[in-house]
Amino acid sequence: MEPAKTYERPPLGTYLSTFWAMVRKELLVMVRYPVNFIASFGQIFLIVAIFTLAGSTFYRTDPGQAVGPNGGDFGSASGVVVYGFILFIFMSDTLWTIGYNVRHEQVQGTLEQLYLSPASKFASLVARVTNLLIWTGLVSIAGSALMALMIGELPIENPFLGLYLLAMSLAGTFGLGFSFAALTLRIKETAQTMANFLQFAFLILCAMFFPFSALPPFIRAISKVIPLAYAVDAFRSTLMGYPPGFPELAPIGFEIVVVTLFGLLMPVIGYFLYRRAEDHARRSGSLAEF
């Protein structure tokens, strides 16, 4: 009698080759839609221009003045807006690229096929992160340069601590993306609405385009329980060299601890939630339902 086949955990090399295959597949898809590249840059330019012009309605006192603020007030706010903007596009792209993409695979009918293969599902999720880092990284650099050009010189103090905080913030954000992918498997079509909602909710609650002081006290109280809000505050305050009033939510030491924990724990929690949702979907047979 033939002995029962046991499925052992595959070696690291298998994980890596799966991961690379997934990254390559995502990159191939990306390259085949060149209009996407151009449209993303165009979109960033337009969003920046819209908010810059909107801001200038409150600052511009000379009708002949070009786009941008009058005097130094708005210029000094460039750090708040630009650094918040970087975290915003990573957060937004994470929700859509990691979270909502699962839904897209469902609609196209490829999700169930992916699960029929023995390939690592973890590699599949992380592959999306890699592409997001490359693509959104490029878009955020271009967008930031453009914003700095339009609204004023960008302060860059404490770059190494800033980079550390950015890395931790992004790790935490990717964890949020994994959690959202889990939610997507549960709520299906509503995920699109939810992604929109979360994007706008974080935009306000984490004060990504304005200082926290602009928020009413009761909303600021909600911000104080969201780790991403500390990430935004710590990241921009650090790069701005802690001007008076910054950081706004807590002392910087406390914020660094919160951001570090967010970056270390959130990916683990997010992946755990994703596995749970995936397991539930497979047991209930709803993986291909949409």
Partner: protein, 282 residues
């Protein structure tokens, strides 16, 4: 029965059936309807908070100097509500065939004797209803939350601008739908176009801020006239031609030209695709 040659009543029933189907579909997602209302309010609050944080007590005075009204809350809310109408027009219309392509129902749709234009009209009606519901409710609720009076100015005139502006807007969206069908990359293109139109129509700022060339281009977009008409009727920021009937007349010109242009481009693109790669390929 030849539906293509059917009576007007028959065609109307196709339009209503298409609208009803989509309304039933969206009624299954009540959370989405709630978000439709919340998003414009959140969107408007961004420039409001940015302005309040930086400009402080002078915010109203400087804003009035630049826009013609000190009521920046209502100004931004109107812009954000108009944004939701424009956004729905593009997402629902331009993305409609693409969505059918992706879900594999497009070729089945082409096998029915019903002409696509009536189904598109039903989709447009659904989108209009949803956009108007969202925009009006967001404006009323946003005004209440942010403490401004929504019932100021000439409300009937504001509605006239919206209603006359809807048909050219949807014609524009249909025209753009043809581009999406051809180029395929729907999400990126629609996202981009949504922001292009939003930018050009002066969602949060007067188009006087634009350089001359961009200003001329923005005046070629019906939503620019629609938004400014609503703002002028409610907040008195000033019509482009100084009088409401002149601005409304321009929108009527759009209304007479744009549907034919949109239909013609869509029809040509559709024929070309059917002759080449076929409609189902994406």
């Amino acid at each position: 029965m030849d539906y293509a040659q059917g009576s007007l009543g028959l065609k109307l029933s196709i339009v209503l059936a298409s609208t009803r189907m989509r309304l039933i579909n969206v009624s299954r997602y009540p959370g989405q309807l709630v978000l439709d209302i919340i998003i414009p309010i959140v969107f408007a609050s961004m420039p409001i908070l940015l302005g309040r944080a930086g400009a402080g007590p002078n915010a109203s005075a400087v804003f009035e100097q630049n826009t013609g009204t000190s009521n920046y809350v209502a100004y931004m809310l109107i812009g954000a509500s108009a944004f939701s109408i424009v956004s729905y027009a593009f997402w629902h219309m331009a993305n409609w065939l693409r969505w059918e392509q992706e879900t594999g129902t497009l070729e089945a749709l082409y096998l029915t004797p019903t002409h696509r234009i009536w189904i598109a009209a039903g989709t447009a009606l659904y989108s209009c209803l949803r956009g108007l519901f969202s925009a009006v409710t967001a404006y009323l609720l946003g005004s209440f939350i942010l403490g401004v009076n929504p019932f100021q100015g000439d409300i009937a005139l504001a509605f006239a601008f919206i209603l006359v502006g809807l048909l050219p807007l949807y014609s524009l969206a249909l025209l753009f739908g043809a581009v999406v069908l051809k180029v395929k990359e729907a999400n990126a293109l629609i996202n981009l176009m949504q922001w292009v139109v939003t930018f050009l129509m002066g969602i949060f700022f007067p188009i006087a801020f634009f350089p001359p060339l961009i200003k001329v281009i923005s005046l070629l977009f019906p939503p620019t006239w629609m938004t400014n008409g609503v703002r002028s009727a409610l907040l008195g920021v000033g019509f482009f031609f100084g009088a409401w009937y002149k601005d409304l007349a321009v929108l009527w010109v759009f209304l007479l030209v744009a549907p034919f242009l949109g239909y013609w481009v869509f029809n040509r693109t559709e024929i070309s695709i059917r002759r080449n790669e076929g409609m189902g390929q994406f």
